[in-house]
Symmetry: C2
Subunit: 103 residues, 2 copies
DNA sequence: TTGCCACATTCCCAGATGGGCACATATCAG
DNA sequence: CTGATATGTGCCCATCTGGGAATGTGGCAA
């Protein structure tokens, strides 16, 4: 088997640097594609492709405004990541600091 | 260019399901390879390979005990992920709930 | 030394990119 | 309709990958 598709889940989607960059930008507010193109310095087609991946995994949503497409971050898509991280770190903490037994 | 190496950073490393599984197991405490092999149901070589990737990105550490190698989670390696996630979510919240101005 | 055990490494290969580039589409101004 | 603007898609290709199977290696027991 080869590597999983980038659209397999949020973990694979955010593995790509540029996509994280795009998500970070969208975290500060919605933006049309060309805005992202300028901010990232990437070619427009590349940005569109990254956005497509982010769309497929539910990390962003689009809204059409005239001939533009305004992208918006959908934080719910990051939930699995947050949760996995929390579980791992939480359990680790529980093991590392059993001081005074658990409550 | 192709996809970044799985050993490029923690984001790429945890993109793989099996590796997340291994990290979750290690979150509950150190374990020798064979333990992980049993828990994951993967073949030993595969587990070793995943562990190698996790080692390279600093997500786990090894300790030799006799002929075994005990792996331990190194949470500091997850910091970049935690931080990126926090920044994105925090900024998003700031935009979504500007109630009563910022403090 | 011999043999076994716990792991790591190497080789092979189909599958999935990400960027560059050309091109298709949709919308809006004239 | 025509041209310009804003995006999405298709194609090509070097590169990295995860699993399977075989092999290499260090430590321990007899």
């Amino acid at each position: 088997m080869a590597r999983a598709a980038t659209t397999a889940d949020p973990f694979n989607a955010i593995a790509e640097r540029r996509r994280r960059e795009i998500l970070a930008l969208l975290g500060r507010g919605e933006r049309p594609v060309n805005d992202l193109v300028r901010s990232t310095g990437l070619a427009q087609p590349q940005v569109s492709k990254h956005l497509r991946v982010l769309r497929r995994v539910g990390l962003v949503r689009v809204r059409r405004v005239g001939r533009q497409r305004v992208y918006r971050l959908d934080t719910s898509g990051l939930r699995p990541v947050r949760e996995w991280l929390d579980v791992v770190l939480r359990e680790w903490q529980a093991k590392r600091r059993p001081r005074g037994r658990a409550l």
